[in-house]
Amino acid sequence: MDSNNLFYILLALALFGAPLAAALNNRPKISAAVAFGASAMASLVGLIIGADVLLNGPMRLDFPFSSPFGTFAFAVDGLSALFIIIISLVTFAVSIYSLGYVRHYYGKYPVGLMGSLFNIFYVSMIMVVSSSNAILFLIMWETMSLSSYFLVIFESREKGTVASGLFYLIMTHIGTAAITIGFILMYSESGSFEFSSFHGAALGMSDLLRSSVFALWLVGFGTKAGIIPFHTWLPMAHPAAPSNISSLMSAVMVKTAIYMLIRCYFGFLGVQDAWWGVIVLAVACVSALLGVMYALIESDIKRMLAFSTVENIGIILMALGVAMIFQSYGLKELAALALIAALMHVLSHALFKSLLFMGAGSVLYAAHTRNMEKLGGLAKRMPYTSLMFFIGVLSIAAIPPLTGFVSEWLIFQSMLQSFNIPDAIVKILIPVALGTLAITGALAAAAFLKAYGITFLARPRSEEAERAEEVPRTMLVGMGILSALCILAGVLSFMILPVMDDVTSPLVGVSIGEHLISGFLIVPTVGEFSQMSPLLIGVLLTSVFVGVLAITHLYGGRRKVVRADTWDCGTPLTSRTEYSGRGFSNPINRMFSWVYHPLRVFRSTSHISPYVKSDMRYTSTIEPVFERYFYEPMEVGVRWLARKVSVIQTGSIQTYLGYIFVVLILLLVVLR
């Protein structure tokens, strides 16, 4: 069966699943089964389509009717196929997870509605990455945004949900406007809205025009991807959304923006100017660094994950920027390498971020709070969840040989190659980016160490955490799939990278597949520069571990292990004596206070004598810089202007007639 029919089947599954689920809304159990069953099946079909395209070449599905904007069609080439696979993988796992997760919505919120929106959301993402016409793309893009918006405000009765949803909607709309203008500028050059006509159209453009298209797309797609300073909607929307949705949004939806950036820059514009790459690199560095720094001090686990998404998008864009720089200097092999690294990190981030969000969801499901400071000790109460979350943490902290490690290693390698760049300035800029990437990685490790340590280890810090118990099996299965993939995608990356090479070679114009992989080894560049094999590292680590275990047990004989209280300096062990999350991140907070603008308040009341404190309170908050200095002033300004203008509606008919009178006289005089 060829992939066109498969595509029909996919659409059919999701688009019949959606209304059916909505119809069954007041039978939550059944409608949940229907909805997520449909999406799971649809995503399986999506996987097949992707694989089929990667093996047997592209597919195209024309619309039965023509539109004023030219022909509409769904066309899937290598790049689209790769993203379809990523989207479908995650969606499949999340659908299974959702079966269990939505249980705590029964009777509270319309589960059927969520299910149908979920399907629409999935299909719209698939269509976004397979649209072949700018307008069709825009329609699908906004459908994706809208469906995700409705999913974000699903828990509409929670405080602040609707507001953050609205902010998300507005931000994404602004982004879409920028994208649209970019497309129309391309149209005015190529004379058609079809993507196929955009290829090489930029060659005829003036430098100014081409660069403004570049900038418009960077802003537009960047808003969706969450680059700083357009990132503010992420930490608002992701926590507000139900966890299964936030995992989809954060792991996959933002990637569609990356997809378009790659397609637009490498496909349509054809990277000519080196400074484009430099700009992308700079933006990426800022996003990565600030993103991880905000993530580190955040104690709302889902907000923290959202900020970490900003960081990872930054890392992906770093690789993309490096690729663009190489491409602009005609170093095609290296460009291919960097692009492959970017795609690899897209894959890894999709896997572990959705896993982590699902883990956070499970914690929420079991302990009813997102606040780390109220959690703790879950490792014993929900062992499987904690194990899977831990795998996610390991791979996002780039612990070898997991998937996060492989992609970061590749990015480092592509940066190390920067000495091939002829231009000295750019050559010196890239080591700075490398340093940024290094510190980002280390801070990310710290952040997730905190997240795992405070949430799952030691003693619970609240009643809910005390009473928490393991989540339903379906949720565990959903997470299990992804945690397995996190390991496999790392260890078996030597099988994945050639696929990435097939995807990138048409974009960059050269294939490095034949020397990228030799046996189990990944050889990023020609010659002896460096090589690495996650699989062998994995083997080595396990065997050495076994060895160490054995030797330790043999040497010194069998010794018994006593369980006892933690040493407590004589004070009773309560949750208050544990190290708090804020305490953990405090050193960073203080050392980088010029970034955080922290506001600390220490209040202590003492009634007997100044030495006996009856009550002590310490609050430490950081200033929301971007909201305060970027968004709020803008809104205030617009409102002020609007108020000034709206005095013209005085209510007195004489004034109204006066306007007409004046306009008449002005026009008569001016146009005489």
Binding site: T650, G651, Q654, L657
Partner: protein
Amino acid sequence: MLNSLSLDAINTLAAIILLTDFMLVASSRMRSLTRIFAIQSLALGALAAVVAFETGAEHIYIVAVLSIVLKAVIIPRFINYATTKIQVKREVEPLVKIPGSLLICAAITLLAYFVTEPLMQQGTAITSNCLAISFASVLIGMFLMVSRRKAITEVIGLLVVENGVFLAAISTTYSMPMIVELGVFFDVLVGVIIMGLFAFRINRTFDSIDASILRGLKD
């Protein structure tokens, strides 16, 4: 070929119309407003008649008669009836004091001339030089509406504007096709009646038709 007598007649009538415009602005009594308006309409009708006589286009006679009957007789009576029915105070209550209004109207007249001057070069009609005056009375009518507080004065201002338009029609093209003319007259009549009705209803609800208290709707 053109009979100088009738040309004089046309110019005189046009001058009268302009004069009545100023008188309207100057007058401070409702009664006198309607009266002056009647005179203006009369002059307009006469002018139309002269034009008809000159050009020998019969349908303009009808137009002339209609305008006299409607605007010089029926509508003023109707307005008077309305004003007495809903005891409107007899003062006009201008928002702009009368001397100021007069100065402004003078300025407007100059402006009208300035605007229409190129057209009058173009115009081939014998009456084309009335164009400036027609424009002036359109603008002055609007100015009346802007600067007077009462609802009734707005209706009168509107009618003055209509007169100006009508004069423009005659002075540029010896009036429009018959059917259109009739339609226009019909509309004017209906318009005035409907406004009168609304004036009654407003008066009933607000027990006043001072248009400047109608300010419930604003942003």
